[in-house]
Assembly symmetry: C2
Homo-oligomer: 147 residues x 2
């Protein structure tokens, strides 16, 4: 039997969230958190709408997932996010001890890899899942902004 | 005329916040944000009470100050925090473009200096203000926890 619940399946859900951010004129980044193939948090960037630099998609999903689980540690959880996390989000993920992070497009300027942010030693990372789709959405957003 | 509004004056207010965290059985870290000698945000660590790793004192003050100002950038603001910010909080401060960060005790394990987190190039840093008081509060907290 084919398992439909692979990284691409869940990244598509995160991309849907990114599209919701796009429609709100927010930098289009979406995130979800999954445990045992169940989505327990969905969010998209809301920094403009909320006037708050901390309102990145990942931060909202971390808070929502902890709320769902009734505990602040996200052990056993996977974060799917369309763009590589920044220092702040990677720092929050470090504290959460999340088991796995899957991201789409790389952020070569402000992503945690370039910035050297440390993740929790127990966290595994997968990158490049539906990266083109995520990057295209970002490019469309900034092309539209320049008009 | 003596200006009463110096870094020690405001750090005392942040220490009062840290004591409120202590009384709630939270790791005792407090923060305030000041603009033009006016306190526009006060907060203390609430990670246990809120079950949320993102509920550090700094994060709450960043959100509150932006809300007060009606804009997400904290240009012209100073953050006073009793303990050196972590990666997450330094990452949020980076995005906020805050003008000045004043912290008390150093966090040699998980502070942003050791972790190598980048702050905004326009942000100036002052450290060691009432550091002993902040460190003593932390020591008392962990000594009590071990009992």
């Amino acid at each position: 039997m084919i398992n439909p619940f692979n990284d691409e399946y869940f990244m598509k859900k995160a991309l849907q969230e990114a599209e919701m951010a796009f429609d709100k004129d927010e930098i289009p980044v979406g995130a979800i958190i999954v445990i045992d193939n169940k989505i327990i948090a969905r969010s998209h960037n809301l920094t403009e709408l909320l006037n708050d630099v901390t309102a990145h998609a990942e931060m909202q999903s971390i808070t929502a997932a902890a709320n769902f689980l009734g505990g602040k540690y996200l052990i056993g959880c996977t974060l799917y996010v369309t763009l590589e996390p920044c220092q702040m989000c990677a720092g929050a993920l470090y504290w959460s001890q999340i088991s796995k992070i899957v991201y789409g497009a790389s952020d070569e300027n402000r992503g945690f890899v370039k910035m050297g942010t440390k993740l929790h030693p127990k966290t595994t990372i997968v990158s490049g899942i539906l990266a083109d789709e995520a990057a295209d959405l970002m490019k469309r957003f900034f092309a539209q902004k320049r008009k």
